[in-house]
Each structure stands twice: as structure tokens, then as C-alpha cells.
């Protein structure tokens, strides 16, 4: 009963706070989808990662030039064998508290915070999606209050790449065994970042307030509200009708309307992913490289990019973004050439009878296409429909199987029960494709679900992973790009350009693909009343 009463008071308070916020010099931004947790680890939505960028910090950050710059650590030393890093922590970093004005006990960053964070990241009981991204981190040891050693499970050419994880507070989580979605902390997070979490309401709106004790440049914008929407178009209209100051993602269909409004500005950023159609290289005619190549030539990727995404992206020829050091610009994307596709199919012994392709044994060529869905998934359906039409033109029939994302994961990643499928890989700046194409990953739940096996590719991937010579690594990756384009385990489709939009109240806006709000402390906003 007491709890219920408290909740009502809390929501009334928050509701009035949000209204007050909207009328003052505060930033209101929009995201699609509701967040259930607000910590950097149990959250699995990109909107959650953006929000936690405002609340938390990491030991080091990736700088504008791709180098590492200090954040919670002021300096560091990588061991000569590249199996560990020793960090010197910044002193006087104040953890946020719910009520910073009152005289409450202050907590400062220490080595214990790093140890607690690593312990929770490694706990098998923690509910962290893609927890294996922390698998290289082995353990953390306290050297002194502001010095900590993090050991890796094996040597790595660039250990700092794995040190950009967000640090959690020991004084809150020190006694907690694992990080659960249902825990109090995930719903009321405490960080060291420029904004502190104030609360959320029934509509999924989140209120943040500037952290007065933030160790770096204090934010110019004193309060931030994140509003959640169930429809992207409604969110875009809310920006255009002045109810939002910023949307972090503009749907391609809304982009021209926003670009047509002189009071709005648009900033583009890399989507940090690439889309592809995957071929199960262990099944039927798809074992033959010529058939896979034919499928590449049969589709008009440029037309799909223009029709579905208003051309806002780049066609790719391999498994990297064109901006990556690993991308080999000499490898060109396969052109739309159905005549060449038919010739390749003929050379593979397949025969076109009328409008249908047949195998040597007289069997119809029908490929099973597993399509993952989440909600309406309009774009996936559009791509698959166009793809079906392109393949029909070279005589290949598709048997489409639409399924829920969870079912798809089991069918494709575990059982490998598919001929074709469509997906995207999100990547970090490591551009490490070992798990995608190394034969050792061609197993249940392995990322090499296309079952691609090539000893030359295995050797090159292994060589690239162990070398500490960046030029050599780049040369190896360029060669891998060339081989994987020729071998065609995927049809590499495109990387998309994403767009954020904001109104003329905001100034100094600069976004970073890996950390959207990285420069938020330098953003400014004018009064809504003064417009």
C-alpha cells in the first residue's frame, strides 16, 4: 500500500516536471520504442545505448581520429605481451546522486568501481545481450584506489578496443551478484556522465538533469527529455510541429519533408552496419560458387537502394563499410547483369526451360528463403519481394518462410536450416570478420551460419588476428575482401546513411556514430519562449 502511494506521488511529480521542462530551455528528443531498462548492459535497443551515453562514462573513448582519448582513466599502459592494460583513474570523479542539492554522502570513482563492473560483465547470471563481446576481458585487479589492472584472456593487437565499456558504481552494486533486467539499478541508474537519470513515466518518457559534479565540461543544456514513439512518422511530425527539438533517426520516407523545412537541420551519420543476403554454402546448388555469383548479378541493388531508401546509402562489394580501413576500394560491386547471371547458371549445369531453371537431374531449382520479422518489418518485406522478382527473371523460384526473430535465430543460427536469408551485421571499429567466415565458426550458434569453409581464408584470418603490424593487417584484409567478393558467400547489399534532424533552437550539434551524444556538453539551446 505504501509502495503504491509512493508511485502515484512519484508519477505526479514527474509528469509536472516534464511539462515544466518543455516550456523552458531544455532539449526534448524523440526515439522509437519504449525502454524498459536504462543501464548500459541489460538494454538491447540502440535508443538505450544512446541514452546511456548521456549517463555513463568509460575508461577510454575513441577520439575523432580513431585514436584513444582519456575519459575516466587519465593514462594507461599496455603490457608488452598485449595481454593486459594498467589504468590510472581520474581522481575526484563524482558519482551522480538523486538529489545533488542536498547534503548527501558523496561517492567518488575508484578502482572498486572497475572491479565491480568487470565482475558483473563476466557473471554468467547477468542478463546482458551479446555478452560474448566482453569475452576477451579476463579479470580486473586493484593496484591502488586509483590504479587498476585489466587482464585479457589472450593477447590482442589492440587491447584498448575492449576497454570502452561503461563503468558501474561499486557503492550501489558492490553486493550484487549479477546484473538483472528486473534489478533496481537498471531502472534507476547512477553514472558519472554529464546527465543524471531523474525518472520515467507511464508513456516511456525519460527525464535527465545535468550532473552538477560532472568531471569534464558541464553541459550547456540543463535538462533533457527523451520521448518514446511507436511510429516513426508521428515522431517526425512532432519534430516538424515543434514538439521535439531533435530526432535521432529519420525514416527515409520522412527525410525529404524534413529537408524541405528551413527551420530544421539534418545531420547524417554512418549506420555502422551492412545488409546482406546470406547463402547456405553447404546446401544444394548453393555449394557452387557460380550459382552464388549468378544470384549477385541477377539483382539490381542500386534500384532497391533508390526505391526503398531514397538512395541514402552506399552499395558495397564486401563485408565492411566503405569508410573502414579494411575495405578494398579496388573491388567493385557486382553490376546488375541478368545475362551474365544466366550464363553462369548454364556453366554450372543448370538448364532454363521456359521460365524455370532445372538441375541436371531435372529437378526444379527452388530455394528456401528464411525471412526474420519484428513487427511489420516493411523494408524487409519490400526487399524480399523485389528479390523474388529478380530471381524469377533468371528462372529461380523462392519459397519464402516468414518467421519471428527468435524462431529465425534458432532455424538459421543453430540448425542452419535455410538456403537463403537476409540480415545485417552491426560492426564496431574493429572490423573483425573472423567469426563470420572462419571455418571454426561454422557450427551451431556460430556467426559463420552460411557454413563457409575456405582454408586460404582461414589462414588469412588467423594471420590478421595475430599480427601487430597494422599495414600488414590492412593488406590481409584487402585480400580477404577480394576473395570474399569472388567467393560470394553473401550478396553484399549496402551500408545505409542514417540521419538525425533538429530544429533551430539547437546549436553546436555534432554527432558521432559510435556514441551519438558524445559532444552533447557543447550543444546549446535557445529558449522556446523566445522563438
Amino acid at each position: 500500500m505504501i509502495l503504491k502511494h509512493s508511485l502515484i506521488v512519484y508519477f505526479l511529480f514527474l509528469s509536472s516536471s516534464l511539462n515544466a521542462v518543455e516550456n523552458d530551455k531544455n532539449m526534448v528528443y524523440g526515439e522509437t520504442g519504449r525502454l524498459d531498462t536504462f543501464d548500459p548492459y541489460t538494454v538491447h535497443e540502440s535508443s538505450g545505448y544512446r541514452l546511456t551515453d548521456l549517463i555513463f562514462n568509460s575508461l577510454v573513448e575513441v577520439g575523432p581520429a580513431g585514436d584513444y582519448v582519456p575519459s575516466l582513466a587519465t593514462s594507461w599502459e599496455v603490457s608488452s605481451d598485449r595481454t593486459s592494460v594498467t589504468f590510472n583513474l581520474r581522481k575526484s570523479v563524482l558519482w551522480q546522486s538523486k538529489n545533488e542539492k542536498n547534503n548527501v554522502t558523496k561517492h567518488y570513482l575508484s578502482a572498486d568501481d572497475v572491479l565491480t563492473t568487470v565482475r558483473l560483465l563476466k557473471s554468467s547470471e547477468s542478463e546482458i545481450p551479446n555478452q560474448d563481446r566482453f569475452s576477451l576481458i579476463y579479470t580486473a585487479e586493484k593496484i591502488s584506489d586509483h590504479k587498476v589492472l585489466i587482464k585479457l584472456s589472450r593477447a590482442h593487437v589492440d587491447p584498448l578496443r575492449y576497454m570502452t565499456f561503461k563503468i558501474l558504481p561499486h557503492h550501489i552494486l558492490g553486493a550484487v551478484l549479477s546484473l538483472k533486467r528486473s534489478s533496481s539499478f537498471t531502472h534507476n541508474p547512477i553514472g558519472t556522465g554529464p546527465y543524471r537519470f531523474m525518472g520515467t513515466n507511464a508513456q516511456g518518457e525519460v527525464l535527465l538533469s545535468a550532473h552538477e559534479g560532472f568531471f569534464a565540461k558541464k553541459p550547456e543544456i540543463k535538462q533533457v527529455v527523451m520521448k518514446a514513439y511507436s511510429d516513426q512518422n508521428v515522431m517526425s511530425q512532432s519534430l516538424m510541429f515543434n514538439s521535439l527539438d531533435l530526432v535521432t533517426y529519420v525514416s527515409p520516407r520522412d527525410l525529404n519533408e524534413i529537408l524541405g523545412d528551413k527551420k530544421l537541420s539534418v545531420v547524417s551519420y554512418d549506420a555502422l552496419s551492412f545488409s546482406f543476403i546470406a547463402f547456405n554454402t553447404s546446401r544444394g546448388v548453393l555449394r557452387d560458387k557460380r550459382v552464388r555469383q549468378a544470384l549477385n548479378y541477377a539483382i539490381n541493388r542500386k534500384e532497391m537502394l533508390d526505391a526503398f531508401f531514397q538512395g541514402k546509402g552506399v552499395l558495397i562489394s564486401g563485408p565492411f563499410p566503405p569508410t573502414s580501413w579494411a575495405y578494398n576500394l579496388d573491388v567493385k560491386s557486382d553490376p546488375f547483369d541478368p545475362v551474365r547471371a544466366r550464363k553462369l547458371l548454364k556453366s554450372a549445369g543448370l538448364e532454363l526451360r521456359g521460365k524455370q531453371l532445372y538441375s541436371k537431374t531435372g529437378k526444379k531449382i527452388v530455394l528456401n528463403f528464411s525471412v526474420p520479422l519484428a513487427g511489420e518489418s516493411e523494408m524487409i518485406k519490400r526487399i524480399v519481394l523485389a528479390y523474388q522478382a529478380y530471381l524469377a527473371d533468371i528462372g529461380i523460384s523462392l519459397e519464402l518462410q516468414f518467421m519471428d526473430w527468435q524462431v529465425w535465430k534458432k532455424k538459421v543460427l543453430k540448425q542452419h536450416d535455410f538456403d537463403l536469408t537476409i540480415a545485417s551485421w552491426s560492426f564496431d571499429d574493429a572490423s573483425n570478420i573472423s567469426s563470420l567466415f572462419h571455418s571454426s565458426s561454422a557450427k551451431e550458434w556460430g556467426n559463420n551460419f552460411v557454413m563457409y569453409k575456405n582454408s586460404e581464408v582461414d589462414s588469412l584470418l588467423t594471420e590478421a588476428n595475430v599480427t601487430n603490424d597494422f599495414d600488414k593487417k590492412r593488406a590481409i584484409y584487402h585480400k580477404l575482401h577480394s576473395i570474399l567478393a569472388e567467393e560470394a558467400p553473401y550478396t553484399y547489399l549496402w551500408t545505409l546513411q542514417h540521419h538525425a534532424a533538429y530544429n533551430d533552437r539547437l546549436s553546436g550539434v555534432r554527432v558521432e556514430p559510435f556514441s551519438f551524444f558524445k559532444y552533447v556538453t557543447s550543444w546549446n539551446i535557445s529558449s522556446r519562449k523566445g522563438r
Binding site: 511507436s230 512532432s238 524541405g260 528551413k262 519481394l385
Partner: protein, 447 residues
Amino acid sequence: MDLRLINLSFFLVLNAFLAASCTFIKDVVGYDSGVPLNTFVAKNGRYFPSFVEKFFLSTKTYYRDYPSLAEARADLKMIEVKPLTDGKAPFNEANLSWSADGAYLGYEVITPRERRILLKNLVGNYSRDLYIVPKQSHHFLEGMVSRSIFSYNAGLRWSRDSTRYAFMSNGGTGEYNIYVGAVGSQEKIVAKSNTKDGYATWSPKTNEIAFVSSRSGGGDIYSIRLNNNEIVRLSDSPSVDIFPEWFADGKKIVYSSGNSLNHDLMILSRKDNKWKKPYRFTDWKMDDLRPTISPNGKLISFYAGGVESNGSGGSKWHIYVVPYVEGKTYHRDELSLMKIADNVVVDLNTGPAWSPDSRKIFYVANEPQKFNPIYGYDLYTGRRFLLDTKTKMNRDILMSSMGIISFRAQVGAWDRVFVALTNQGLQLQNGEKTEVDVMGKIHYIHR
């Protein structure tokens, strides 16, 4: 900073030119709305006026197959489907809208940079490209402005006399205003502000347009009387008020209002020419979007749904149909029983489409295996009809007074607009009993 100042002065110059250019065009707003609508009456053996017969050649076969009016109007029959254009150009088409008499139509053409509206009539002897650009050349400023603004024109809605239309355009200048035009005339700005105006919708009874504007802060509902250009603010909420739709009597407007994940429907009404404060028509946790009103003005349909709780990030939407009762607010316990379609594709351009006799709703189902087919739902029998249009990834559905369904569908990679003649036109179905406006007589699903 310098660029910004230049940019502002550039738009001031443009607006001056636009204002000047509007003085000599034919006065479309003072048009008498007494132009007669199509008065065709269906008889045994002939169910469509000549302009429909000329466009849909299958009408003759239909006359032969169904010689009596009773046979012709029975069930839901689709007579012919055809694309409106040849569909070869590399651009998308969308958002087809019909004039009240079903003779004229407009649709949007989307290129990588621009959006324009094409007007046509079914007979094929009228065509117009609605594409507002600054009247004067400004080459002397080229390269000095901070970014190029391309013309964006959308949201065409017809007047009840079928000769005039309203739409939103940025005029190629970056300022969205409401324009009005007439068949055979030029367009002019009727609602202008330096903030966005959009979602214009013409009153079915009066010479008035309702629209959304942020001229006084957030998005609110406004109306403009075209006879004297008087603009009245109708709603004043801290939320965004959007998707206004007139009732058939021209005395009430429904719209969506709210923030974030929870929009409710609101009703505006007027008495003795005075608008009252809006009241909440729906009040529950679902997100209620894009209401449409039955042609008889007695039922309101809308999408309701929201983000799924399975962590996929996807949303799920349904269609609800609710009888309008003056002053009544519907809550969860009632609304949850008023669903007529599950898991639909939400379409914010047009909303759920009504048949002219207010008896059926047309919508797109989220059925991946069939690539989003079109269904019709008979509110009074509970029967659901699949419209076998042979098209895929359908969207933007509307039905004209003649019973012609318009929609867009994907052909290859591009969206094309299609039209499909059915037997649901008012001239054919008018004899049916349609005055069923009591909630208990509507067949809802999951009851």
C-alpha cells in the same frame, strides 16, 4: 552566421515575390460550392457513369453477368484492377485521393529530392502537375545560401464540390503553408505562417479548411474560412494535435492528440458557429492514430496499438470502430471490445478506408506470406472479404464515392498507384439499409 543572415533575407525576398504573384490569379477561394455532384443513378443493367465505364472496360462484362441491380450490389465484388500509370519511371507513387464525385483524383510522385502532386480525371482529358516553386529566378544568390530547398507538395484533399483542392507545400522555399487550387485555375496560399502548416482537410458542408499548425507553439488544430480568410485556433494542448477529420455535418472534427506512446482521440464541436473546447473521445493506454469518419458521420475508425512487449522493437496495430455519441468518452473496458481488425498495416496517409455507404472498412493486413493483402470488413455481418488485387505490399487505401478502391502497391522495386472497381459505389449500394448506428449491431471481433 553570415550565411544564415543571407539565407533569411533570401526567404524574405521570395515571400515578397510569392505574395505579389498571388494577386493576379483566379480567385479560387471565393468559388461557389454549388457545382452539382455526379447525379448518376444505377438501374438494372447499368451501374456506373460513362467516365467510369470508359476507364474500366470490364464494366460491360459486369452488366452482362449481373443484369439486375440486386445481383450487382450483392456481396463485395471486385470488377477490375488496373495501374493508374504505365509504371516504368524510376520513382515511387503514393497517396491517391479522390474528389467527392469520384471523377478527379490526385496522387503524389516521389523523386529522390522532391515530392509533387499529379491531378487527373478518370476520363483522361485533364492533367495538372502541382509543384510549387518560387515564381522568380534567384540565380544571383546561387551558392550563397546554406542549403538547397526542394519543392515538397503533399496531402491533397478535395472540396465537397469536387472542383477545388487544398494541399501542403513548402513552395520550394522551406516554409510549409496551406495552398488552395481549383480545376482549371492556379494555386494560392490561404494559410501562411513561418512555422509548419499541414494536414489540410476540407469541410464537407462549409467553405472551411481545418489544418494543423505550430504557429502558436506546438501542433494545434486551426480552421480557416475561405470567404474571409479568418483563421481560428480550435485546440490548445501542450501535446501535438494531428490528423484532423471533419464529420459529415461540418460541425465536428476528430483528431489525435498526445505525446510519445499515447495519443487519444479528441472531438471538437461547434454550436451556433462557436467552437467549444475539445473533449477526450478515447481514453486508454493504446496509441490512437489517424481517425477516419464514416460518410454518414456516425462511426469513427482509427488505428490503435503500440510497441510490442517482446523486445523486438516492432509495433502492432489494430483497427477499432466506435459510434459517435455526443459528449461521451470511451474507456478501456468499452474500447477493448470494439476491434474490427487485428494486426493491420498502419497507414497514416489515409487511415482506415470507408465504403460510401458507411458499412464496410477496407484495410491492409500485416500478413507477410501474402505481402500485405487488402481486406474489406462488413461491420454488420462480421464477414471479412479478401480483395484479390494480385498486388503486393499494398498501402494508402481509399474508396471513392463510385466504389473505386485506390491504393499503392510494389511493382518490382517501385511503388505504383492502382485503382480497383468494386460494386460498393454509393450509386449501387444506396438502397441498402445503412442506418445501423447502434454499437450492439456492429460485429466486432473477439467478443
